[in-house]
Symmetry: C2
Subunit: 243 residues, 2 copies
């Protein structure tokens, strides 16, 4: 039977989702837990990779097993063998042809920042410091340009290996509260470093260093160099995958 997992992790200590030699990854830890529970060596397939240091509230994955453990109880058995910074929140029986990567239609990421002259130790693990309050209105206006289907080559790092750099962004919500600014970005898929470059570019607009017109130009010319910097992985969280 095929089992679908909802997984959450604090990515700080991991080299991302995907198994790789000489590095500890989330996928590997979950595969090890399944082995300890079932004795089966299986591949766990996630909705997509997350990079080193990126967190997840709602990563989705699937795997096949012959175990007799009821699917909806599986997460409890796996959690016994998982470290506290990786836990399965829910497990359920999936259709035999359900595929966590191929069937994903929407993903939502959150990028968190906080505005402060000094690092704030209790926020800094999951958010990135911004020294001056950016112009939220300007960022929201610029975000509208990014909605819809575009070639996002200008907002991706090389090495992602994607066949096409065209993606659709369904929504960008920028929410400011108590000195924290959260960017919620929902799309049909994301290129390598895309959210981190997108938010870095919006913040550059918010700080007045570039204008909305520069972002329009960035999209039309495909020039990465016009945009903002690639922000740190620690502010990024995969919130939700929809099927």
């Amino acid at each position: 039977m095929r089992i679908k997992l909802l997984v959450s992790y604090d990515g700080t200590s991991y080299c991302g989702w995907q198994v790789q030699p000489n590095a500890v990854t989330v996928q590997e830890k979950i595969e090890q837990a399944i082995f300890q529970v079932t004795g089966e060596k299986v591949r766990v397939t996630g909705s997509g990779r997350t990079d080193a240091g990126v967190h997840a509230l709602g990563q989705v994955a699937h795997f096949d097993t012959n175990s007799s453990i009821p699917p909806e109880k599986f997460f409890l058995a796996l959690n016994i063998h998982l470290p506290d910074d990786i836990k399965v929140i829910k497990s359920e029986l999936a259709e035999p042809d359900f595929h966590a990567t191929r069937d994903a239609v929407k993903k939502t990421y959150r990028y968190s920042t906080y505005v402060s002259q000094s690092i704030l130790p209790l926020r800094d693990r999951y958010a990135v410091q911004v020294e001056k309050m950016p112009d939220i209105k300007k960022m929201k206006e610029t975000a509208l340009i990014l909605l819809g289907e575009h070639d996002f080559k200008c907002m991706s790092a090389s090495g992602g290996g994607a066949k096409t750099t065209v993606r659709t962004i369904y929504s960008i919500d920028i929410i400011e509260k108590d000195g924290q600014i959260d960017f919620y970005i929902c799309g049909n898929g994301f290129l390598y470093n895309m959210v981190r470059i997108m938010v870095g570019t919006l913040l550059k607009v918010g700080s007045g260093k570039i204008k909305k017109e520069d972002v329009i130009k960035m999209l039309s010319t495909g020039k990465r160099s016009l945009g903002g910097k690639t922000l740190s992985a620690k502010g990024l969280t995969l919130m939700k995958v929809e099927y």
Copy 2:
């Protein structure tokens, strides 16, 4: 001149506030930073100790210096030499007789818990898992008993060295949101482990294992054994000290 500091720290990696042999503490780290900035070996006096693993959003401390750095700029110089999990948020000139411990009149602590069948990796650093939703109404009713001046011997661990076990609690706010339950407790001072035992006891009432009447009895008899367990340090944060 005397300088007053507002300090925030993630206590996870520290053996609490107070300098002690063979252990890394927050006080020590700040004294080292002052030495690196001024060349002066000084004692930094905090509003009180926080235990190993306890966090602070607004710890207050003072120290004396002959440095010519403007008091309100001092925090920037100190932060250069402090690790990312300890930062000074604000510095200012204090009256020569200001004393961070003796002059404190009110302290507010927050104890954070979340309700979930499994550990939630993105909440678990600063909050403690509770498996079943407690009865919030019962906890709020019981909290009213704790308000005002009482002998809180029954809610303290030995080893605190306090002269009296009488303290005044000004307010207890229990706020539930998105599966997280935060307890905000404000008082004129707290005994060793007092907040952690108090919240442990309220949760025991919330789970139905003891009743409001048992807490009344606990206070009147001074019996620690009637209460709930001493909760983990990681859920506790010193929010504010008032003078």
